[in-house]
């Protein structure tokens, strides 16, 4: 809790320090990333006021390895995770969202509520050198409780069904063709295995190279920070993607070892290993509307 207070105070100070620089919107840098999400992590982009966005995202099974190859059409026979959701722009810098995830790993039938606030936007004159946003997500599963008392899906109390993710994204557009982001992230689960940790820190990094106005290449990696004696079976998440931006739609075609969507899953629950062929094809389609 004290960390949260500290973060809030620091963000508040940053906000007030640079607030004056944000008054003239004409000087703000736009399209640091093309969508509100990079591959898995949150970008500093937000929906504008009165915009809403529909998301369909799909992640298939392992492309190679024991579960992949020709017999599963390189993973297309399987669905690791599926996301349907809506995001809404409350103001030009504040958006909220609601999604339903199929769920991968131990959890199924996950509902996600999220909010993102961009409190700093990079300016063209570099008086504000980066854009910064803070995202928070709440996850709840409505899957039936396991009867196995040793399982993390044995929900003795309602709180055991709840998980949380918060992410700070610091991004900079260095050039019209090149942007980078750093994403310190914290994921909290109320109930975990003895070999796991309730609170997990991770630091993500992402870069995008734009080939032209419509196409861009993205790479994203999250490094989880924990003691050496826990989480042996988990991997860090690594993804690469091709994004295609049209007038209203954004398509992202990606390969990643993360099976699931949301900070809960791609940070805390990734077990697949790229080197064993356990990466998968995925895509997301978003369509933005105004209301």
């Amino acid at each position: 809790m004290s960390r949260l207070v500290l973060i809030t105070v620091v963000l508040g100070l940053l906000n007030s320090t640079f607030l004056n620089a944000q008054e003239d919107k004409k000087d703000l840098v736009s399209e640091t990333f093309s969508s509100v999400r990079i591959i898995n992590g949150n970008s500093t982009e937000t929906l504008k006021k009165r915009q809403w966005r529909y998301i369909i995202a799909h992640r298939f099974g392992d492309a190679l390895g024991d579960q992949g190859g020709i017999q599963t059409a390189f993973g297309f026979d399987n669905a690791a995770d599926i996301r349907f959701g809506f995001d809404f722009g409350i103001t030009d810098n504040l958006m909220v969202g609601f999604s339903r995830l199929k769920g991968s790993g131990p959890y199924r039938s996950i509902l996600e509520g999220s909010a993102k606030y961009r409190f700093l936007t990079q300016t063209q004159d570099n008086s504000v050198p980066v854009s910064i946003s803070f995202s928070g997500s709440v996850y709840g599963t409505y899957m039936p409780s396991s009867e196995d008392i040793s399982s993390v899906t044995y929900f003795e109390r309602f709180a055991h069904r709840m998980m949380y993710g918060s992410q700070l994204t610091i991004a900079r557009k260095f050039h019209s063709r090149f942007s980078m982001a750093i994403m310190p992230t914290y994921v909290h689960r109320n109930l975990v295995q003895p070999t796991d940790v309730n609170g997990l820190f991770s630091v993500g990094a992402a870069a995008r190279i734009r080939l032209n106005k419509s196409l861009g290449l993205i790479a994203e990696y999250f490094y989880n920070i924990h003691g050496a004696d826990v989480r042996d079976e988990y991997e860090n998440s690594l993804g690469v993607a091709l994004e295609w931006l049209t007038n209203g739609h954004t398509f992202t075609f990606n390969f990643t070892n993360a099976r699931g969507f949301g900070e809960l899953q791609y940070i805390a629950l990734t077990q697949s290993d790229w080197l064993e062929g356990q990466f998968r094809f995925g895509f997301s389609i978003t369509r933005t509307f105004k209301y």
């Binding site: 919107k25 004409k26 703000l28 736009s30 399209e31 504008k48 009165r50 019209s176 063709r177 734009r210 032209n212 106005k213 419509s214 007038n247 209203g248 369509r287 933005t288 509307f289 105004k290 209301y291």
Partner: protein, 347 residues
């Protein structure tokens, strides 16, 4: 000098002095009147000189309603009498296409280059629509070729300001019809900002003509004609269609410096940071190459096409691009714009 002569000289002196006093008073009186005439409503003066009142004539405006009208025009939503207003259009505000102030020094000047220079000099957007400045004084709307775009919808809007506003709100802005108090508020805003004689930029001589016509009922027809030709009563609108490919120079005959003015004050007014549309434009090489690569042909992505035809609202994407008539952007300016696009595309 006899007493009689002395009396006659005295009487003559008094008469001459009185004459001077009278003349002096007459001059003072005229100056005062000219000052007053400058502040008079053009509509009222025209009516005093024999012109009929417009069908949207209002004697006075209400300050509070005029403020609400301004809010509706600039923000697209306002509250009234404790009633929470609804957004007229989620896609456009009036000011996305219309300025509220004059767009050239001489308000009768319709030259697009002068309009552009004035916009740049006064930090105004170079919009596709005509300014609302003096709209109360106009008698015709959706003129010229606008029937090609809106068909029979323009019939009722062409000679009635209230109908023109409703057409704009419902169709041009992809919104809804205004409720009565919203329409009334906008009319009060227009009335508040109607032209005064001083706005017409008349010379002293012309002011005297108007003043004399008004006060002494001399040369009233001439004065009325003078007033009516000192502002734009109806904006012409000529749709040219896309420039044929064989006539395009693709910027080679254009002036990129002038094109930059158009790009910044017209294109980026709506496209910067995707303000009105989803297409984000900056002055970087990616935006330049995007527009340059689509320069040929006649689809929506060609600047030659989209500037002249605009785009149309479709289900799920009601924000569209309005077209620029010949009067609002010349073919030369279009080539200037393309020259700038060529420059930022590094071609």
């Amino acid at each position: 000098m006899t007493k009689t002569n002395f009396f006659l000289v005295f009487l003559l002196s008094v008469m001459i002095s009185f004459g001077f006093i009278l003349k002096s008073n007459e001059n003072t009186s005229e100056i005062t009147l000219i000052d007053e005439v400058e502040r008079l409503s053009v509509t009222e003066v025209e009516h005093a000189l024999g012109a009929p009142l417009p069908n949207h004539y209002m004697k006075n405006y209400d300050e509070e309603l005029a403020k609400i009208g301004e809010q509706l025009i600039t923000e697209g939503k306002a509250n009234y009498n404790g009633e929470k207003g609804k957004v007229i259009s989620p896609y456009f505000n009036c000011t996305d296409c219309h300025n509220l102030v004059k767009e050239t020094e001489d308000i009768t000047n319709l030259n697009p280059q002068d309009r552009l220079d004035y916009a740049v000099g006064n930090d105004l957007p170079y919009t596709a629509g005509s300014t609302f400045f003096g709209i109360y004084n106009r008698s015709k709307y959706y003129n010229g070729d606008y029937d090609k775009k809106y068909g029979d919808l323009v019939i009722d809007a062409r000679d009635t300001l209230e109908n023109a506003i409703q057409l704009c709100a419902e169709y041009c802005a992809s919104g809804r019809k205004l409720v009565p108090w919203e329409l009334e508020a906008i009319m009060h805003y227009y009335k508040k900002n109607e032209l005064e004689v001083a706005d017409l930029g008349l010379t002293n001589q012309e002011m005297k003509l108007v003043n004399t016509a008004l006060n002494r009922e001399i040369n009233q027809e001439e004065a009325l004609t003078l007033l009516q030709t000192s502002y734009v009563n109806r904006y012409p609108a000529t749709f040219t269609g896309a420039m044929p490919e064989n006539k395009r120079s693709y910027g080679s005959k254009g002036n990129p410096e002038n094109g930059e003015k158009i790009y910044r004050s017209a294109c980026m007014f709506c496209h910067e940071n995707s303000r009105v549309t989803y297409l984000n434009l900056t002055d970087d090489v990616l935006s330049g190459q995007y527009l340059w690569n689509h320069r040929e042909g006649y689809d929506d992505l060609s600047v030659y096409q989209v500037a002249r035809w605009g785009t149309y609202p479709i289900t799920g994407r009601k924000q569209y691009m309005p077209l620029y008539t010949k009067e609002k952007m010349s073919d030369d300016q279009l080539e200037d714009l393309m020259a700038y696009i060529k420059k930022i595309a590094n071609k």
